[in-house]
Symmetry: C2
């Protein structure tokens, strides 16, 4: 009971493959339902099972607050209870799942009620998205885009090194992994034509990102210290910021991306708690110039988190890897993003989602979007079987995976998948 839930030596009575994303050291939260019980409720992933927290709550095995915290279709009521409750609850769930704790292990009826095989679970959007903000915090990504469109000498905009640049995204179309994505329509005006036309996007792209799930509010008019910002972060998800490059190119001056990003944003169904990522913290890149005081961070705020993108071309049998990078490359950390976000007096809410911005690394195989991989369409990615992709085609399926590698176990995120449907 005194062992920390992150302890690498912990084992569950449930047998878990060392390659599983969901060992006892992870315990990510999600919302699920089953054919037998179609009411969405909160669960925790453990190996190939979902632990039904609403069953445990009703059976008085979890004491989290007002009864029903885990009975609903979103994590928001649980997140609203705050970091002390998050930590206490995780410790209790860890205890219940330990190989040397008999309470659940030896209670066959409760096990049957509370442990749902993952293959029987339908996974839902894990939280109600209050606001969605998308940052632009990978220096490699911003540089790639800048070189492509403005040349090497003016690659980074003058403000980029001084603050985590961001825009408000559209919360209404944040969807869970597996949701099909209809190719958006919009105004298109390639540089070589005089007048725009309306039609299906021809340059449909993905963007590999991580999403921060904000679990605590901040006051309108207030600011955040590093530790305040950190404690507001409930966890992280994988995030695919689908992007219509041609719609974006025509609409975005001067007010930024709007419809080019508003048709869909996909996230992974499991929210991995910030606490579970603690063992994988590391220092981010050196920041030069030194950030202004309100953005300074005293602790390492990046994470060693491997990321993998694969693309199953329409008609192909298997996905092919097209990018392999790491969250550790991010120039601006999630904590800096949150401190910046609140700095003008902007109130943060439970359920806010902050996209990290496309995560690219220094190498060519570490690029987090097709725009970069195909260098603005000029060097299409060559896939096994002969398919080529400058941008996404109808029927293509894009899969992102992410994990922190421990010694003999990994804290993983599962995947975020999306398949492209033809425009109507």
């Amino acid at each position: 009971m005194t062992t920390h839930p992150n302890d690498p030596s912990l084992r569950s009575f449930i047998e878990i493959d060392p390659g599983s994303d969901f060992p006892i050291q992870n315990l990510p939260y999600g919302v699920f339902s089953t054919a037998a019980n179609p009411t969405p409720r909160v669960g925790v992933a453990i190996g190939n099972f979902v632990l039904d927290l609403w069953e445990l709550e009703q059976d008085s095995r979890l004491d989290v607050g007002p009864l029903g915290v885990f009975s609903g279709s979103s994590l928001n009521p649980f997140m609203a209870l705050g970091p002390k409750v998050w930590t206490k609850t995780r410790a209790r769930i860890s205890e219940l799942l330990r190989h040397d704790h008999p309470e659940l292990r030896d209670n066959e009826e409760l096990r049957k009620q509370a442990l749902v095989p993952m293959r029987e679970a339908r996974l839902h959007l894990p939280f109600a998205v209050s606001g969605y903000t998308d940052f632009y915090s990978s220096k490699e990504h911003a540089t790639n885009v800048g070189v492509m469109f403005r040349g090497k000498d003016n690659a980074l905009q003058p403000n980029w090194l001084h603050m985590p640049i961001a825009y408000n995204g559209r919360a209404s179309t944040v969807v869970v992994s597996g949701t099909k994505v209809k190719r958006p329509r919009g105004q298109l005006k390639p540089p070589n034509v005089e007048v725009p036309s309306f039609g299906p996007c021809k340059r449909l792209d993905f963007e590999l990102e991580m999403g921060v799930v904000v679990g605590q509010p901040s006051a309108m008019g207030g600011m955040l210290t590093e530790s305040q910002a950190e404690e507001m972060i409930f966890g992280f998800v994988l995030l695919n910021d689908w992007s219509a490059r041609d719609i974006q190119q025509w609409e975005y001056v001067p007010l930024g991306p709007f419809l080019a990003k508003a048709f869909a944003t996909s996230i992974s169904p499991w929210v991995v708690m910030r606490e579970a990522l603690e063992p994988f913290r590391l220092k981010g890149p050196v920041q030069e110039p030194v950030p202004l005081d309100y953005l300074k961070q005293a602790r390492p705020q990046n994470y060693d988190l491997e990321l993998d993108v694969s693309l199953r071309a329409a008609g192909a049998n298997a996905p092919a890897g097209i990018s392999r990078t790491n969250f550790k490359y991010m120039y601006w950390s999630s904590v800096q993003q949150l401190m910046h976000h609140a700095s003008s007096g902007c109130a943060m809410n439970v359920g806010d989602l902050l996209g990290s911005g496309t995560i690219s690394g220094p190498e060519k195989n570490q690029r987090g979007s097709l725009l970069e991989i195909s260098w603005n369409g000029t060097e299409p990615a060559e896939l096994p079987g002969g398919a080529k992709r400058a941008f996404l085609e109808d029927g293509d399926s894009l899969v992102m995976r992410g994990w922190c590698q421990g010694n003999g176990y990994r804290v993983g995120f599962g995947e975020v998948e999306g398949t492209i449907l033809a425009a109507e």
Copy 2:
């Protein structure tokens, strides 16, 4: 009972001044509470009273659906019931308030319960804001800003005449009239200094806008026809899109305004139904080039709606008028904005708020922001008593009013007021 609620000949048994914003032809919805009953609930403004709809609902005088539609702190449950219920309910409320209908008029006890003097009512944010989108649809405003920053020849961006340009705003800081607004802080880098510093905004501005309140959802992946878009609009509010011009100038390239607009957006407490504005419809400006098919509108979609802005400088006794314009000047209508918004497949939600964009008119005294009134600070507004204002100072109070003038009555919005507090 067969008279339409918009009929100019209708009279209420409540005496209403012809200059009142809230005659029986208006019946706008809001959320209010009183010292005696501090639970926020839904009401309708009528003359100097608030009609308590929750009282009427409990007394079985309104049959709107599941009991409790008007018991909560937002209009969202009522809006979700759809346009047929909106119309039916408005007709019923109109009937209950008519001078020749005895049901409420002659029921002294019910009158005492249901009619709350406006001066005793505390007005709350009338609906839960799902998403906030801010458009940029006044040609005069866009031209003024363009001339200021890019010169006369390139005033309008190439895309402006082809679509209603917009960005996603921040919903978490939409506040009701009367909420004090703390001067935001942010990164400032005037063109003549090398490195940015962090501090209070020095160029704080208002923007005169109308806000569309979306009352019905639309499907992700779908598009909207003109009549579908129209029927989704529940009503309108006055909107002040507070803007930190110096923060904006440094942050907005390339992803648009973010923190410069995220600290506060004020709206009026009464939502005037689209239906109440029907008599004041008119055709907007000629659109040349002709919009693409998906933006075409067959009906007049603008409104003859007078707008007035006044500023009470810190320490001054009275407000002074600084702008007088009309909503009719808008180049892109609210219906076109909504059709455009959904066109990429973006789902709209009950409670979405669409800012029209700053409303300026063709004349100098019709400018909807201090940026334009003071021509980027070079010609400060001269106020009675000798005060001058290039931008807003601490203690200044800004008031916007709006109304449609009928024959012998007016359908008004009340006001949206905000007073600037010093930064911390």
